[in-house]
Subunit: 209 residues, 2 copies
């Protein structure tokens, strides 16, 4: 084979390999997860969140209910509640939202809410003030257990992910890998990050070594 | 020399090299540049913008005057005007701002405003509607001519820049290099990008090959 043919083959093979190692990227807007106790307080004893639409993660859904977040300096209205209910309430906002609320908010992995600030949640004339759980979510890739070997990653790995957005390609470092048999393989970033990488719906990410 | 010593030397030397090849990163908020004609219309014939403070780029300054931007669906108040005046008015916003205004805004290099949308600028009871010039600024590094060789870049190059922000390190691709004897060597990103990379004041960027 001549050199050109070899180059062509290498290009085609690596393109194919990259394709199989890429995954969908989704931009998550601000949202709230609620505990049973906080649903009771905000919507009434035993209230069940109503399904609006399912999300890419199996069983996770956008509910029809909305809440208002009240921070020290500002308010965010019409904030989505995701179901199903969780052990602890958690509020995920962007760094831009944190500025609007007037609250310093740490970047945390979902569920890791020790020593995070609280916030007041309002539904009409009912309200709850949680004493922790307000975070900026660390960018992460949900990896289905069956895909972990193919992507060559383990739960807890910190990786770099390349996103080829229009005019704004970038490589996110500090991306945490979360592996579970309950997950679909999808990367989640917030709206600040989506804006910074030229996000469009259906865009793919690829882990770079 | 033994292997450990060599490794240590390589680490120390590359650290030193990286240091000399790094530059300050600044986050630019939304701002307006105005032509003489538009200053006349918004502030009166022959009006001179008043200096508030100088910026890192020699001669460029934040003025004391502010404007309101009126888009199809929303308004941004108290927007900074940068001086001195330019040949063409130009309004630089973030993708988040574009959403607030309700206007699709392209990512463009400063000055490249053909076929960009216009916007209405308001100062009290005076207003001007520009027919083009509304852009999301492409991330860029201003490079002083004397630093271009050291950084191994030429005007117009598209490079990758690593930013080691807290918990949110990333590598921006599609960064344009602008070389001029009038520039100080500083990288400019917008607030979306600043939020995505864990920006803090004084943070440095490094070109990666």
């Amino acid at each position: 084979m001549d050199d050109k043919l070899i180059d062509l083959l290498v290009d085609k093979i690596s393109e194919k390999l990259n394709e199989s190692q890429s995954f969908l990227v989704e931009a998550s807007g601000r949202h709230v997860h609620l505990s049973r106790k906080d649903i009771d307080a905000l919507f009434g004893e035993g209230y069940q969140l109503k399904l609006d639409r399912y999300l890419s993660q199996p069983g996770q859904f956008v509910s029809r209910e909305r809440l208002t977040l009240v921070g020290p300096k500002g308010v965010l209205q019409n904030v989505v509640i995701l179901g199903p209910e969780r052990a602890d309430s958690q509020v995920e906002v962007s760094a831009t939202d944190a500025l609007t609320l007037g609250q310093k908010v740490p970047i945390r992995e979902s569920g890791n809410i020790e020593n995070t600030p609280g916030i007041t949640l309002v539904n009409g004339n009912r309200s709850v003030t949680i004493d922790k759980g307000l975070i900026v979510a660390q960018r992460h890739v949900h990896v289905a257990e069956k895909d972990a070997a193919k992507l060559n990653v383990n739960h807890g790995d910190i990786v770099k992910v390349k996103i080829a957005g229009e005019n704004r390609s970038l490589i996110f470092d500090d991306v945490v890998i979360r592996v579970s048999e309950k997950f679909a393989t999808v990367m989640h970033i917030d709206y600040d990050e989506a804006n910074a990488c030229g996000f469009t719906k259906g865009i793919k990410g690829t882990i770079v070594k």
